[in-house]
């Protein structure tokens, strides 16, 4: 519906930066680059989590089940690796598929729930799924103790040609690229939603479902599509994280904190946009890391303060703040479609 060129350019620029980042980091920081790469993967993980949640929120579905689909993807990977002999790399699409199908099921039964009722039903679903996974036969899913997951990459130490820390570097570098690829995929999905007629359907369903239907939008279809896309993406993330972290365990893999971060980040960055959740993930990751390094203990207090302050002082997130500042400086320009709509 709108010019798509700037989006493509931005994404391309981002991809180029990502492609060069590991090499540059290694050249600049030597051994320290190992942990920088890991931090970057964490930040991208948060970005994927947040943007995929935002996709769903664009249809007005305030899901508290993101951890369920993350966990479903992670467990799909773990079970695949432990119960079959297929190459582990298949875990990524499988994680997406399992989470997507699960979302189709959950989304179909929760179609008529709105607002906080929807939120609590999806939260309840997460808790039930966690218990179900825990009660599965131990041979299959490991019970409360969870399962080990083989890594996606196993770099080998070559004596004489590399230093010890370079094994970790190679591993982190490989994961970095996979996270970047998944992030680009998520951004691409988001851009497609924002730049095609889907945006009109999603926004209409979010703001007034009944009126949207009278105007020909099929709310059920829009909501389910968003649910499946969002969950498939976070399912793949779950599978990837399981392989990077090396294990899955019900209490951790289905932790409510995953859901909390998934929704906090887009609100902080700017809801219903592509840029907002990504920006939010970057800034919040940086804030958390800085706080962690400054205050060894209780640094999360500062994190909470940042969240509270952000709602009080920039209710429309970073993107909304930027739009407001730009408009104030621009002065006479044509009014934009409201802060929340801001840049795509």
């Amino acid at each position: 519906m709108r010019r798509a060129l700037p989006d493509v350019l931005w994404t391309l620029a981002l991809a180029i930066v990502a492609a060069l980042a590991p090499t540059l980091l290694k050249a600049g920081f030597d051994q320290a680059s190992v942990s920088y790469l890991s931090l970057a993967s964490n930040a991208m993980s948060l970005g994927i989590l947040a943007l995929s949640w935002d996709l769903l929120a664009r249809t007005g579905q305030l899901s508290l089940a993101h951890a369920a689909f993350y966990g479903a993807g992670a467990y799909a990977a773990a079970v695949l690796a432990n119960a079959t002999g297929v190459p582990i790399v298949l875990a990524l699409p499988l994680g997406g598929l399992v989470a997507g199908l699960l979302a189709l099921g959950l989304g179909s039964v929760t179609l008529r729930l709105k607002g906080i009722y929807f939120a609590i039903a999806t939260l309840a679903f997460t808790e039930v799924l966690k218990a179900v996974v825990q009660e599965l036969p131990t041979g299959l899913a490991g019970g409360a103790a969870g399962l080990n997951v083989p890594p996606l990459f196993r770099p080998h130490f070559v004596p004489g040609q590399m230093q010890r820390w370079e094994i970790a570097f190679q591993r982190n570098e490989a994961y970095f690229y996979v996270y970047a690829a998944l992030l680009v995929l998520t951004i691409a999905v988001s851009i497609v939603v924002q730049r095609t007629r889907l945006r009109a359907a999603f926004t209409a369903v979010r703001t007034n479902e009944a009126v949207a239907a009278v105007m020909g939008v099929r709310p059920a279809r829009a909501k389910l599509l968003a649910f499946v896309l969002s969950s498939a993406l976070v399912g793949m993330l779950g599978a990837l994280e399981a392989m990077r972290l090396g294990s899955v365990i019900p209490d951790g893999t289905f932790a409510i904190s995953t859901t909390v971060f998934a929704l906090v980040t887009p609100i902080f960055g700017g809801l219903y946009t592509t840029l907002g959740p990504i920006l939010g993930a970057g800034v919040l990751s940086a804030v958390e890391e800085t706080l962690k390094r400054t205050f060894a203990e209780g640094y999360l207090i500062g994190y909470g303060v940042v969240l509270v302050a952000s709602i009080l002082f920039m209710p429309r997130g970073l993107v909304g703040l930027a739009t407001r500042l730009r408009r104030r400086r621009g002065g006479s320009g044509t009014p934009a479609a409201g802060d929340a709509e801001g840049p795509a």
Partner: protein, 244 residues
């Protein structure tokens, strides 16, 4: 027959809002529904556009039974609706609002066609200059126009208008009357609820009078206004102001 309503009824718990409602609207007709406050007019439109499920009865659009179709399917079948209580999508611009109807109102509409249809609807409803304004910044009059524009953009065969003239100044109402005629001249059937009697007189080919959820009289404007029961219904009570 473009629209046929047979034995339509709606009960809310013990309250009967509409009952025994039968009427038919022919293609290209302008059909008015009038009646005192609480007569069940908006409830009737809500059942026709799929927002309420009838307790009994049958609704046909161009010979097709749509009684059990959902709102979106009815829209695709050719039913357009402008609401009495204006309900724009506040976060969208005027143009984006209209584009929703243009893109999704008729299945298989390409982006280019939708854009043209939206532009046409904006122009006809006089919203051309406001296309980039957020809908939340519109005045009530502009919002009413947006309601009509959105409904038009869905390329309806039957257009349902719920009190779109209420609150308009005479000059504005004349413009709106012209718009409705123009729409009809392009082959769209119009069903409208209205309290402003001069508008009903100028526009309607036929008028259905409802009272207490039942049809009271049906005929030309002259016929129904001469009907003793109608006069009784209107003059016998003093509650003929806008229904909420």
């Amino acid at each position: 027959m473009m629209l046929r309503v047979q034995g339509l009824a709606k009960r809310f718990g013990g309250l009967v809002a509409v009952s025994d409602l039968d009427f038919e609207v022919t293609e290209g007709e302008i059909f008015a529904i009038i009646g005192p406050n609480g007569a069940g007019k908006t409830t009737t439109l809500n059942m026709i556009s799929g927002l309420l499920t009838p307790s009994a009865g049958r609704i046909e659009l161009a010979g097709r039974d749509i009684t059990h179709a959902n709102s979106a399917e009815r829209c695709h079948a050719g039913l357009g609706r402008a609401f009495q209580v204006v309900q724009p999508f506040p976060e969208m611009t005027v143009e984006e609002n209209v584009m929703v109807g243009a893109l999704y109102g008729a299945p298989g509409t390409s982006n280019a066609v939708a854009r043209r249809r939206a532009a046409d609807a904006l122009e006809r409803s006089g919203l051309d200059a406001l296309r980039d304004v957020p809908a939340e910044e519109l005045t009530l009059l502009q919002e009413k126009r947006l309601e009509i524009a959105r409904a038009l953009a869905t390329a309806p065969r039957v257009l349902l208008l719920d009190e779109v003239m209420a609150g308009l100044r005479p000059a504005e109402a004349r413009l709106a009357v012209g718009l409705v005629r123009e729409v009809r001249d392009q082959g769209v059937t119009v069903v409208f609820i209205e309290h402003v009697m001069p508008v009903v007189r100028d526009l309607a080919d036929r008028v259905l009078v409802m009272d207490y959820g039942r049809p009271l009289a049906l005929g030309s404007y002259a016929e129904v206004t001469a009907d003793a029961r109608v006069i009784e219904a209107y003059l016998g009570r003093d509650d003929e102001e806008d229904e909420a």
